[in-house]
Assembly symmetry: C2
Homo-oligomer: 182 residues x 2
DNA sequence: CTTCCAAGAAGGATCGTTCGTTTTCCTGAG
DNA sequence: CTCAGGAAAACGAACGATCCTTCTTGGAAG
């Protein structure tokens, strides 16, 4: 469900004293609310140029409230980065199971046009954030491991697609010109 | 020579009063010294996680001295980023004029293995910095323009290579498997 | 009444930058 | 060649701003 790991279950029972005031669902919703705000801020200004004050304002909460759900800015960054990587992986996984399999040229076109060689000035919602995460991954060991997993999964899905294409008996070569579109 | 533009020439004559104490060459050298230090710091920690104190210490100078040669951190970032882009462009331009022309597979392999799909944990000197610059380019208009120029030049050089390869009468198709190396 | 979420002011640290001072070194006179 | 004169280079302490985080207080919900 959530890429950043299983949510810590509330250990209280409704029959105990000291019942928490809000449900787990509410807590989850608050986390989501904060992450969405952080997502927007990070996409706009990158990780280290957005202040906690920015995130807090975007979320429409207070500092104290935000720090009830995340114990540091670092934790929010990791959560958002994991979501970004998870999103990429999920989208690719979904797309890689289409029937009939897309041609190798389509696969490569998807890869280089969507995230990599797109113009810096015409980013989708994901592109600036993906770059930020990727850049951060060169410094943060946790993110580096995540990035490696994603890369491995991507490679596997791509080769899987190629194999399925090959089984249809068609050409497994890509016209070079498709790789440098005007 | 220097990607960030022509160095402002010393307007004093040796016959005037107020002759500067150091030569233009010395000034140039100092700028270079600061930029090298900044390069190292930025490659290590990214733009916004390296403080001016880091750069100043790495350069072995004082704050006042550094601010004699660059008027802000932003200016240093732009200078380094321009150097990075210039380096990429230069390397590709050089490589694209090899004789005989490299095969399309080689070209693509160079592109995806060198900067793009390399493992985040095994970066060359340039990779983390390239990511940082690229990420910054999604926010900084000056860098965005620079990035677009670089991209356009790259595309042109790639298509040029493909055309030269085609003129040798050989196959202009790339085996798909080359694009997802194990 | 008890419990804890939410708020927001405040703390301590660090940031980029400036500025008054010292040092360096070229110049021109003796 | 020597030496004062002076301007630029270099220094580094200090400044205001901003950063992330904590902590006290208020109030809603069971």
């Amino acid at each position: 469900m959530h890429p950043w790991g299983a949510f810590v279950k509330n250990e209280y029972s409704v029959y105990d004293l000291g019942v928490p005031k809000v449900s787990d669902a509410h807590r989850e919703q608050r986390r989501e609310q904060i992450l969405i705000a952080a997502w927007k801020c990070f996409a706009r200004n990158g990780f280290h140029s957005t202040s906690m004050a920015d995130v807090i304002a975007e979320a429409g909460l207070s500092a104290g409230a935000v720090y009830l759900y995340f114990k540091s800015k670092e934790e929010i960054i990791l959560a958002v980065a994991s979501q970004v990587f998870g999103g990429i992986s999920g989208r690719m996984a979904e797309w890689s199971q289409h029937e009939p399999p897309p041609s190798p040229a389509e696969v490569v076109g998807f890869l280089i046009q969507q995230p990599v060689l797109a113009r810096a000035q015409a980013p989708g919602d994901l592109f600036p954030l993906l770059l930020a995460v990727w850049s951060e991954a060169t410094r943060n060991p946790v993110l580096a491991d995540l990035a490696d997993e994603i890369m491995a999964a991507l490679r596997q899905q791509i080769t899987g697609l190629f194999e399925r294409w090959e089984r249809t008996g068609r050409d497994l070569r890509i016209p070079a010109r498709d790789l440098a579109p005007v």
